[in-house]
């Protein structure tokens, strides 16, 4: 079992794959650019639909993957393609020769300031879904809680399904995340009015629909179908949101204490960087291209390179974990094939 397996990315996909490979008797190497493992999920507070603490998920994954070789604060400097293997040079000076690379580079959050009309970075009281989770975790954000919190709005699909933002794909998890966050805020501030501005609600997953019904029935969250047209700020710093309620066919205007933008998922620049180094193609949605989008989603077009998680497109946590398990099995069988 001397085969080197390099896992790029120490998020949940990388950790789960490492854990599975350890169980199969391998000693994988995890390369993580941050100073901690867990990726985006580590920044989250609770996970839909059962309000599972994100920390529990991440810490159990970290514990299971603890025996792997883990390089934190490390990036890939370059990748050389050798005859039947790859030479990976790390930023800490270590070089690794391997025949197997698992890309678990994940996604980046869409930069909400690029939708300038929503005012992120311009108005104080406009934040993103990530900022809100950060506040849930740390309670450290002067924009939230210090104000009256009489009215809060959520804007769905910020940088998703939006050609003008150069992302035409659906980010999949923001609908249900908005519902989750709306419920959490409503639990903390029961007197506040919570609005969700959406164009479609895609409640595809297990118990999502129940969650959404509960948000309306049990928490009185208002769902308004219509894209927000513009956001402005009034004299006392509150934000004024204008939108069209396309179900009633009327324009709506509400003044809010806080506006949360549900920034979507885009391919992370690190994925693109590694893809360039290993000459992997990008798909038309900007994410990494699989050999086949139905049968071989975890296979790259290059021999010995595999994918797991959101580097090939937006995915939920359970989907990512399932892909990571599938990828480890695939790698195991691939190594068996090489040994013959």
């Amino acid at each position: 079992m001397k085969e080197n397996i390099v896992i790029i990315g120490g998020g949940i996909a990388g950790l789960e794959a490492a854990a599975q490979l350890l169980d199969l008797g391998y000693k994988p190497i995890i390369i993580e650019k941050n100073d901690h493992l867990g990726g985006h999920v580590a920044d989250w507070n609770k996970l839909f639909p059962d309000m599972t603490p994100a920390n529990d998920v991440v810490s159990s994954l970290v514990a299971r993957a603890a025996d792997a070789n883990i390089f934190l604060n490390t990036e890939i400097s370059f990748v050389n393609r050798l005859n039947d293997s790859y030479n990976i040079m790390l930023s800490n000076g270590i070089s690794i020769i391997t025949r197997i690379i698992l890309l678990a580079t994940g996604f980046s959050l869409f930069d909400a300031s690029r939708k300038e009309e929503y005012g992120y970075g311009v108005y104080d009281q406009v934040i993103t879904n990530k900022d809100l989770e950060h506040w849930f975790n740390t309670g450290d954000d002067p924009r939230i809680g210090d104000c009256a919190m009489n009215a809060v709005g959520f804007v769905h699909c910020v940088g998703s399904r939006d050609e003008k933002a150069r992302n035409s794909q659906c980010s999949k998890v923001c609908c249900i995340t908005a519902v989750k966050q709306a419920i959490e805020l409503k639990q903390m501030f029961p007197e506040s009015m919570v609005y969700c501005f959406y164009m479609d609600l895609r409640m595809f997953g297990k118990k999502f629909e129940d969650f959404y019904i509960s948000a309306q029935r049990d928490y009185g969250i208002r769902f308004i179908r219509g894209r927000v047209s513009e956001v402005s700020e009034n004299i006392d710093g509150r934000v004024i949101v204008k939108a069209e309620d396309t179900l009633s066919g009327k324009p709506v205007k509400v003044t809010l204490d806080l506006l949360v933008l549900m920034a979507g998922m885009v391919c992370s620049p690190d994925s693109t960087k590694v893809a360039n180094m290993t000459s992997l193609p990008l798909d038309s949605d900007g994410f990494l291209k699989s050999r086949d989008n139905i049968a071989d989603i975890i296979d790259s077009p290059r021999e010995g390179i595999f994918y797991a998680g959101a580097c090939t497109g937006p995915k939920t946590v359970p989907e990512t974990l399932a892909e990571a398990r599938a990828a480890s099995l695939k790698i195991h069988l691939y190594i068996k094939g090489l040994e013959k």
């Binding site: 690029r114 005012g119 311009v122 108005y123 050609e163 150069r166 513009e230 956001v231 402005s232």
Partner: protein, 625 residues
């Protein structure tokens, strides 16, 4: 000189005489038609301009400089300029000197006046006394050589247009080709014909030398008549096809120049001035390289030169397609050597479209808006409020509403400068009317203009401040706001800096300024934004700037261009902007900002964002200086 023939006539003059009479009658009829098609006031204006010495002198000067010398083309490319002016001016001088010659040496002209100046050398023989005419002989040969050199260049241009500074040229139609080849053959044939008779009627360095060199062939007078026939036929063919080819631009431009100098605008989409412009188009294709849509090959046939061709052909489907696709950036108008207004011509085509539904804005109640905007607050810099304090009404417009950073930083600048200001559309206002005007729906635009005028006139403001050049253009052109100064924020900030109301700390950031179409070509504002940026950092220029700035591709002007089609245009415009590797791209239009920010590899900002970042309120001391 003595006449060789008693009759002074030969049948070979017929093709030329018929052709010339045809083209003169055709042009006169066309001119009368265009003048009759003008609206009554415009026609009056036109006739008045013809008897006003000032405009008349300008007319003559413009016709000489533009039609004969082609000054605009000289500015663009020396070789292109020489090619055009050698043919036009050389031919013109041949006609003038030819007439002088005829008047000097013949009497009792009569009907012979129709063709004598052209075929003079055939009908006369040189005598001893004609030696005095050697200067004229020399001039005739000289100008013939000038024209011939132009023709040679024209032939080279057809093969290698890049030598003439043109990447792409127009695809000529069949009749254009007939006209082209007959024009090219006129002058070599003239040389040949005159060389035949050079030993009889005299000549100079060109014709006489040719006659000596090819003495075997040219001295054989049996060959003489066919050469003169060929020359006359080439002229005849050229004149007969002229009204149906691009060469119609020659007579039409002579009419277009006085019409333009009289200050006439396009009213009817196909008649009057519009018609004159369409026929004045020489199909030179300068607009093809200028068009920002040209980055995609499929759009080349949608440039102004092809619009003119389709209008001549009455091809309604294509006219509609071409008119709707255009971004209305106005660059083709800026570069056109004859002054065809491609953007206005297209808006006029859009205006004749029939719609089944027309929105009515006349019932909008403006009372609430008047109330809201009559709410001036003073800036927080008390040091400067003692200086003349005009009330500023700030109309952000709908595009600025989508780029709130511009509004926020502009208000911050106003506040730093201690200006007393009020927001006209803080809570949503009425559209300025420019987008619907661009769509050719003038009645609706007028309703919006009236509503906004009522609000502004009741606001008590002295200055109307705009941060969007799209609004700025229509406010300048279509609004009458007596006593209120209309100003764009680039101009206003420049004024604040030069009057010392805000203080700028300069650093070494390299800025490039993108001239928005509506601000630069649309309103002629080029200097102020550059002055402002030069005071904040180092100003570098784009490869193509000012008049020739390239549209960002986000323009509201196009009714049909899809989002995916515009990307290549934006990337092309960005590549042009970063040619001198600036740190930041600065513009002064919310739409350009939004469009560039999407694809740019470096920060894109509005000029107000730059100035708000680097400015502080001026202190009292400074003002006392």
């Amino acid at each position: 000189m003595r006449e060789r023939f008693l009759t002074g006539y030969n049948d070979f003059v017929l093709p030329f005489v018929c052709g010339m009479l045809f083209v003169i009658i055709y042009c006169l009829a066309g001119m009368i038609r265009i003048i009759m098609q003008l609206p009554v006031q415009d026609r009056k204006k036109f006739f008045l301009s013809l008897i006003t010495p000032k405009t008349l002198i300008k007319d003559i000067k413009d016709i000489f400089l533009k039609c004969l010398i082609h000054v605009d083309l000289w500015k663009r490319n020396k070789l292109l300029g020489y090619m055009h002016s050698s043919i036009a001016f050389g031919w013109f001088m041949l006609i003038v000197v030819g007439h002088i010659e005829v008047i000097l040496y013949t009497s009792n002209l009569g009907a012979k006046a129709l063709y004598y100046p052209i075929f003079f050398r055939y009908f006369v023989a040189e005598t001893e006394s004609t030696m005095r005419g050697s200067l004229i002989f020399f001039l005739m040969d000289f100008f013939l050589l000038v024209v011939l050199s132009g023709i040679v260049l024209a032939i080279i241009k057809r093969v290698r247009s890049r030598l003439f500074g043109m990447r792409r040229t127009t695809n000529p139609s069949f009749l254009d080709l007939v006209g082209l080849y007959s024009l090219w053959s006129i002058f070599p044939l003239r040389l040949l014909a005159e060389s035949f008779t050079a030993d009889i009627s005299g000549g100079s360095f060109l014709t006489k030398s040719l006659n000596y060199v090819f003495t075997e062939f040219l001295s054989n007078h049996a060959n003489m008549l066919p050469a003169w026939w060929a020359y006359s036929c080439a002229l005849g063919i050229f004149f007969f096809v002229l009204p149906f080819t691009r060469y119609m631009h020659i007579p039409t431009e002579i009419l277009l120049i006085p019409l333009r100098n009289a200050g006439i605008r396009i009213v009817n989409a196909r008649k009057g001035l519009a018609k004159a412009q369409v026929y004045a188009c020489p199909s030179c294709g300068v607009c093809i390289d200028a068009c920002p849509m040209g980055v995609q090959k499929g759009n080349i046939k949608d440039t102004t030169v092809y619009l003119n061709r389709q209008i001549k052909r009455n091809n309604e489907t294509r006219i509609e397609e071409i008119s709707d696709k255009c971004l209305l950036c106005g660059k083709c108008t800026a570069v056109c050597p004859v002054g065809v207004e491609g953007d206005k011509l297209r808006i006029a085509q859009r205006s004749i479209r029939k719609y089944s539904y027309s929105p009515d804005y006349s019932n909008i109640d403006v009372a609430a808006e008047i109330n809201a905007c009559n709410n001036f607050v003073s800036g927080d810099n008390n040091n400067v409020s003692s200086i003349e304090n005009k009330k500023v009404l700030y109309f952000a417009g709908c595009m600025t509403a989508l780029t709130p950073a511009i509004r926020k930083t502009t208000v911050s600048i106003l506040s730093k400068a201690g200006i007393s200001y009020s927001m006209m559309d803080k809570d949503g206002g009425i559209c300025c009317g420019r987008p619907i005007f661009m769509a050719g729906r003038f009645d609706q635009a007028k309703q919006l203009v009236e509503k906004n005028t009522e609000i502004i006139m009741n606001s008590g403001a002295d200055i109307l401040l705009l941060t969007c050049p799209i609004c700025y253009k229509i406010f300048r052109e279509k609004y009458t706001l007596p006593g209120i100064e209309i100003i764009h924020h680039t101009e206003f900030i420049e004024r604040l800096i030069s009057s010392g109301r805000i203080k700028i700390s300069k650093d070494t950031t390299r800025y490039v300024f993108h001239d928005p179409c509506e601000l630069g070509r649309g309103c002629g504002v080029y200097e102020q934004p550059r002055k402002v940026l030069a005071s904040a950092g180092n100003l570098v220029e784009a490869a193509k700037n000012r008049q020739e700035s390239i549209c960002c591709g986000g323009s509201l002007g196009s009714l049909t261009l899809g989002f995916d089609k515009r990307r290549a245009m934006t990337e092309n415009a960005l590549a042009n902007l970063v040619s001198d590797d600036p740190d930041r791209i600065v513009t002064a239009c919310p739409l350009c900002l939004d469009t560039f920010a999407r694809y740019s590899d470096r920060p894109v900002e509005d000029i107000s964002q730059v100035i708000d970042r680097v400015s502080v309120p001026a202190d009292k001391k400074r003002n006392d200086n």
